[in-house]
Amino acid sequence: MLFSVLIFQKTMNEVIFLAELKRTPLFPVYEKYGAKTVDFGGWEMAVQFSGIKNEHEAVRTKVGLFDVSHMGETIVDGEDAAEFLQYMLTNNIKNAEPGKALYTAMCYEDGGTVDDLLVYQLEKEKYMLVLNAANIEKDLEWLRRHVTKNVSITDISEDTALLAVQGPRAETVLQKVTDASLAEIMPFRFAAGASVGEAENIIISRTGYTGEDGFELYCPAGEAIRCWETIMEAGESEGILPCGLGARDTLRFEAKLPLYGQELSADITPLEAGIGFCVKLKQEDDFIGKEALKTQKEAGLKRKLVGIEMVDKAIPRPGYRVQDDDGAEIGWVTTGTHSPTLKTNVGLALLNIEWTNQGQAVEVDVRGKAKRAKVAAVPFYKREK
């Protein structure tokens, strides 16, 4: 879900100023593990530790540990909390229950996307929303503008750290140090009040943003370092690597998990971005954007998100224009890179609908040069179950 534009065009001399950026509770451990940091939406975050390719591969084959504490957490509770969220979000909140998390979009009236998020039902009338770091203020403003009686909204982002343990060996590693019974936590389920080593009061959910099995751990900010070190130690024999946002982006990209600001935005609806599975148009209850999305679906999408693979030697990058062979614009690249798993140059692109059939030849404007590409099957990577 979360990541803004990390690809930046720069000369080798560009100096990145890191003054006055926000830091997560885990910032003090970055240096010890050799992190390179970048300004990520106002946060000084680790973009990599040992190297993006290395970290990417560790998560695909073993296990990696991420600090994603920049994400926002907000509690929505009260007698009418369920009803309020049902109106604000596109998924059917009635499908949640205590112990279950739902992925959903939040839309504007016109169907454009405010954010994509996870909703955890903590108790009967208490939910936790997990928001994209760059969207926290905007989301809170949007929620508060619509809030009804008997609902309260409390931002707990500052008090909450978020660690992600991801990869085929995530369960093995985490089970060594937690009292929660991980095998019993199914995907999109969670256990609250768990311990990790001496760190306590942690929510462990079987979720992630990498296309691999794994867990996300919401822990009190003061426990974050203890929690991190405990997992690093437990994972040493399994080849655990600390991972940065660079690998997180290539991992989520290969699995076709959208990133707000690239695949999703105020101008892109969840239907266009290919996450229609979390837009419940058939439910009886109304939600913001429902009419517009229904109309869009009935009329047929005019553009949609597809995969592209380069035919010529070049790497498609976010924002590069996609065109027909006469040079007319037919869409743009939302994310693109050299895929560490496939070792090919691939991208996601939002294209006009008549250009979206698999195998369709298109061109990408790579810094002024037209390079051939074709529409390719996505996701680029799917885990074997």
């Binding site: 973009v47 990599q48 390719k53 660079g246 290539t250 070049a314 890179t337 050299h338």
Partner: protein, 127 residues
């Protein structure tokens, strides 16, 4: 970080090696370490004319695109085609296997504008 004594350096982090009137060019160890895993190198063609300070190609890592700037004016007489299949040479061997182009300079005086190893070391330690 390695800054070999026998080379000259540009402000844009290229190294230049004098070879019988021709110049071999690549990017420095500092540059590769800043850029991270290199996955693509785009070079000019043999015969292309370069102008000092103008872009002649690019180096791409997983997350970044960086232009390469010609350290001198001249004509490209050789390019390293191995980098097509093995861009990781830039990380593994920036001064040997990852040489990028050989240039026939049209104005030897431009070499005076390049930095000595000591000057380059100073510059990158300030960064």
């Amino acid at each position: 970080m390695s800054v070999p004594d026998e080379l000259l350096y540009s402000e844009e982090h290229e190294w230049v090696k004098k070879e019988d009137g021709r110049l071999r060019v690549g990017v420095t160890d500092f540059a590769q370490s800043e850029l991270g895993d290199i996955v693509f190198v785009e070079l000019p063609e043999v015969g292309d004319e370069l102008e000092a300070g103008e872009p002649f190609g690019s180096v791409e890592s997983v997350k970044t695109v960086s232009e390469l700037y010609a350290p001198v004016t001249g004509k490209v007489v050789e390019i390293n085609e191995d980098l097509d299949d093995s861009p990781e040479f830039v990380n593994e061997s920036p001064y040997e296997k990852a040489w990028m182009i050989v240039v026939e300079p049209s104005n030897e005086n431009e070499l005076d504008d390049l930095m000595s190893p000591a000057q380059y070391s100073d510059m990158v330690s300030d960064d």
